[in-house]
């Protein structure tokens, strides 16, 4: 069935809504990456198997829906029962029978599956009220975790493609660009360039054709926002891109996705095929003059291919290496033609901006960073997961109010924002507002939205070493400062971790960083020394402890620490059994001893001891 007019789209939407209204109860099962790893696909199957046989009022097999990431990954797998919003967390296959018989059949709540706040012991029945969700505001992620990504009808029912209908009905391309400009939307990929300005430049470019590219390369370790959007709500990416195509006069678009995101590729392809089937992509979209097509371009997962010029080369089938962008890619991009390249999250914001208006969007967030931003919380934080918050929110609100604070009652030490090329901010920066400019002013950056929380068991010198190692491996190797500079910087950092660094070398590292920043060809190199610079800016004392006293205050650097068992040891033998180096000896109920020579400092004993009987010296 081709939807070749806006009237037909509206009619179709009405039909879908009537059909969906008949399904009174909905069971949403999160199939996001975290929950899937916890076996949520088995839970889904179990629901379907049991409901096939059972007849329950207001519940049918159609009530069970698989969704994208619901966000609260720490509590997965999750099952949510709408319209009441009952939130069951850490669900296992064995619980399914109970949920069906008690909750669906009799309306009883299963208390042990509800979320209990570890700090207040308060039990929450409805997901919207849980502090993790209550502080959020979802725009880009509005549908993720709410709809079945495989069903175009779900997207349509939630208002999908109505922004597209709106522009085709009565907005000129210039008006679309103006709305996006007025909304103040800045690119969500990291640099925060004004999206409207980019579109305006491309729209005015005389050369033809114009291309629309979507960057789904998302290479930062610990970041998974774009992945969840592509997997959980692929149509919103398509709609954003179609609107962009209309605004800048393009007929051809590509979504660049890394092959490590196989589900994103599958879901996007399905969405593209469905959109084609219904006439929302292809020639004469919704019966209008707009013709636009989208293809998926799969990347090999190189970090540098998230950089615009490298990405464009990769899409064109060339080697994924950046080029100097003295002529901007918006004018000379893919195949040297005018190209708009936006990140997945940026495109996901577009339909809502068009629908609700630029002024509404600009009223959210701060003056210079409008709207909301999705973040993925990872590391030593209680509520790991995917969130979306208004810009300008304080770091501590994200980490404590939403994130629930640091795990195991340890002390907060630093938060890394902006991925490997971002920076680590210490505890006294927790009052900072999270927006593009404030983060840059404080030696970090927004990046694509990864947030890694570190506690007092972290060594910042080691953190710097880890991320430099990542960048050394991901540098494309084209220009000297990045290839050789980061390589040497990492080697010197490694030396410090081994207690062999000198003060002169610290100086050398700082000078070298300066040349890498100003000398490198692309953003990877220009921000490459950031892990080192931001940690030494805020944690110089730790570097000095390594260099001057050969000590690792975080107790991480293997060459500088020793594990010793203290008098609290009750001889439970737990450490002895996990030690892979056979370095621990002792009898049951007697104090154990670690052989320092045999010990390879893996830390397994330290992790397994629950009475703190092992000291790191």
């Amino acid at each position: 069935m081709k939807i070749d007019s806006i009237t037909k789209l509206d009619k179709w939407r009405k039909e879908i809504l009537t059909k969906q209204k008949a399904i009174k109860t909905k069971v949403l099962i999160c199939l996001g990456p975290g929950c899937l790893a916890g076996g949520s696909d088995l839970i889904l199957k179990e629901f379907q198997t049991i409901l096939k046989k059972k007849k329950i009022k207001d519940v049918s097999i159609e009530s069970v829906k698989k969704t994208g990431c619901h966000g609260f990954c720490a509590r997965g797998p999750m099952v949510i029962i709408e319209p009441l919003g009952i939130f069951y967390s850490k669900v296992k296959k064995v619980h399914v029978k109970d949920i069906i018989e008690k909750t669906l059949q009799k309306g009883e709540i299963i208390e042990k599956l509800l979320y209990k706040d570890p700090d207040t012991d308060k039990i929450y029945k409805e997901w919207r009220k849980i502090p993790f969700y209550a502080r959020q505001q979802k725009i880009a992620l509005r549908n993720v975790g709410q709809i079945d990504p495989d069903e175009i009808s779900d997207y349509i029912a939630n208002g999908g493609y109505s922004a597209l209908a709106k522009i085709l009905k009565g907005m000129k391309p210039e008006e679309v660009v103006e709305q996006v400009s007025k909304s103040g939307l800045r690119g969500r990929g990291g640099a925060g360039f004004a999206t409207g300005r980019k579109w305006a430049t491309c729209a005015k470019a005389e050369e033809n054709p114009h291309y629309v590219l979507c960057n789904g390369d998302e290479g930062d370790p610990g970041a998974f926002m774009d992945r969840c959007i592509m997997e959980g709500d692929p149509h919103t990416v398509l709609e954003g891109m179609i609107i962009c195509a209309y605004a800048v006069g393009s007929q051809e678009g590509y979504i660049y996705v890394r092959e490590e995101y196989p589900l994103a590729v599958v879901n996007l392809q399905k969405a593209i095929d469905e959109a084609h089937k219904y006439g929302l992509l292809g020639d004469n979209i919704l019966g209008s003059d707009l013709s636009f097509d989208i293809k998926i371009s799969k990347g090999g997962g190189a970090f540098v291919c998230g950089e615009s010029s490298a990405l464009m080369r990769s899409v064109a089938g060339e080697i994924g290496e950046p080029r100097a962008k003295y002529v901007r890619s918006v004018l000379k991009g893919l195949h040297d033609k005018p190209t708009v390249l936006n990140n997945v999250e940026t495109f996901a914001n577009i339909p809502v901006i068009i629908e609700k208006g630029a002024d509404w969007y600009a009223s959210i967030g701060t003056k210079k960073s409008t709207g909301t931003k999705a973040f993925s919380l990872a590391g030593k934080i209680k509520n790991t997961g995917l969130i979306e918050v208004p810009m300008g929110i304080k770091l501590k609100e994200i980490i404590y109010d939403i994130g629930g604070g640091v795990t195991d009652n340890h002390k907060f030490k630093a938060v890394q924002t902006g991925g490997p090329s971002g920076g680590c901010l210490p505890a006294d920066k927790l009052d900072l507002a999270v927006d593009f400019d404030t983060l840059v002013d404080n030696g970090s950056m927004m990046g694509s939205g990864g947030m890694v929380i570190m506690d007092d068991r972290t060594c910042m010198v080691d953190v710097s070493r880890y991320f430099l190692n990542f960048l050394v491996e991901e540098s494309c190797g084209k220009c000297v400062p990045c290839r050789e500079g980061l390589f040497q910087l990492h080697k010197l950092n490694e030396k410090i971790c081994e207690g062999k660094g000198t003060e002169d070398e610290l100086k050398l590292m700082e000078n070298l960083s300066e040349t890498i920043i100003s000398g490198s060809l692309c953003g990877l190199g220009q921000s490459g020394p950031n892990p080192f610079l931001s940690t030494i800016m805020y944690f110089r004392d730790e570097y000095e402890a390594h260099v001057k006293k050969q000590e690792c205050p975080g107790g991480v650097c293997k060459k500088l620490i020793t594990y010793r068992i203290n008098d609290d040891c009750n001889g439970c033998m737990a450490c002895l059994s996990v030690c892979a180096a056979d370095a621990i000896t002792g009898k049951k109920k007697e104090q154990h001893i670690i052989d320092e020579v045999k010990c390879d400092r893996c830390g397994a004993c330290y992790a397994v001891c629950n009475i703190n009987a092992i000291d790191i010296i």
Binding site: I319, A324, Y326, K478, C479, E484, F487, S518, G519
Partner: protein, 258 residues
């Protein structure tokens, strides 16, 4: 024409011209490694970096590679200052660690007062400085037989999958353009070896001198639409042939007039 200022001097340049070309015309010397007139600039070595600003930039400055930066009206360029010296010196310092035995690098580093790298030098050293001159000249020839492969510090120039490049025609352009003589080749008997690939050399039918590889000849015949026997004789013999023919003609012409 575009007017800009380089080191305080106002100069005119053609639109689309790169800064480096203008600087070289003015006699300003900046070190370069990956720059070569025959091939497109790529900006790998970063040594030709200059500082640019404009009157309305409020004192903001930018460091760009002059080989890739097109001239702009009103641009103010500085080619030598402390910061640029530091960038160039650090780059050469880093290269000296990678290529401690490479004369080309040693000489350039010496100009910046470096006789030893500040970083631990690689004992064996690597003559390849990753300037991509070889791959770019191969692209210009239309073969693209070799390319940079791998990433970061592991990056090397090689044929597909690190094997002998199937598209290589043994023309030696890469070896001749290589500034550090890193690309090794040899002619032994009738065989040329380069990139682990062996080629048969053509023998001049007249004098027996070995000329170019069969593959190179076939490629040129096809590309330039030459007669298929064009490379059967060498340049010298071809010239001799022409001279002989001319001589015959002159003799004939003379006979005709008499």
């Amino acid at each position: 024409m575009v007017k800009l200022k380089i080191n305080g001097k106002t100069v005119e340049a053609r639109e689309g011209e790169m800064l480096l070309a203008v600087m070289q015309r003015m006699g300003i010397k900046v070190p370069t490694q990956c720059h070569h007139e025959a091939i497109e600039p790529t900006g790998n070595c970063r040594l030709c970096m200059v500082e640019i600003t404009k009157k309305n930039w409020d004192g903001w400055k930018k460091y760009v590679t002059s080989c890739l930066y097109p001239v702009e009206e009103g641009l103010i360029v500085e080619t030598h200052n402390d910061k640029l010296f530091e960038i160039r010196k650090t780059i050469l310092d880093l290269q000296l660690a990678r290529s401690p035995h490479t004369d080309y690098v040693i000489k350039m580093a010496a100009d910046y007062g470096l006789d030893k790298s500040s970083y631990p030098a690689e004992p064996k050293g690597d003559d390849c400085i990753m300037c991509y001159a070889c791959t770019r000249i191969c692209d210009v020839l239309g073969k693209s037989a070799i390319a940079p492969t791998q990433r970061g510090h592991q990056k090397i120039i090689a044929g597909p999958f690190g094997e002998a490049p199937p598209d290589c025609i043994g023309c030696l352009s890469c070896a001749h353009i290589c500034p550090t003589d890193h690309i090794k080749w040899n002619d032994k008997g009738n065989t040329r070896t380069i990139w682990d690939k062996k080629f048969k050399l053509i023998k001049c039918k007249k004098c027996g001198k070995k000329t170019i590889t069969r593959e190179f000849a076939d490629y040129l015949i096809e590309k330039r639409e030459l007669p298929s026997e064009y490379f059967d004789t060498c340049d010298v013999c071809k010239r001799q042939e022409t001279a002989d023919k001319m001589g015959e003609l002159v003799v004939k012409a003379r006979e005709a007039t008499i």
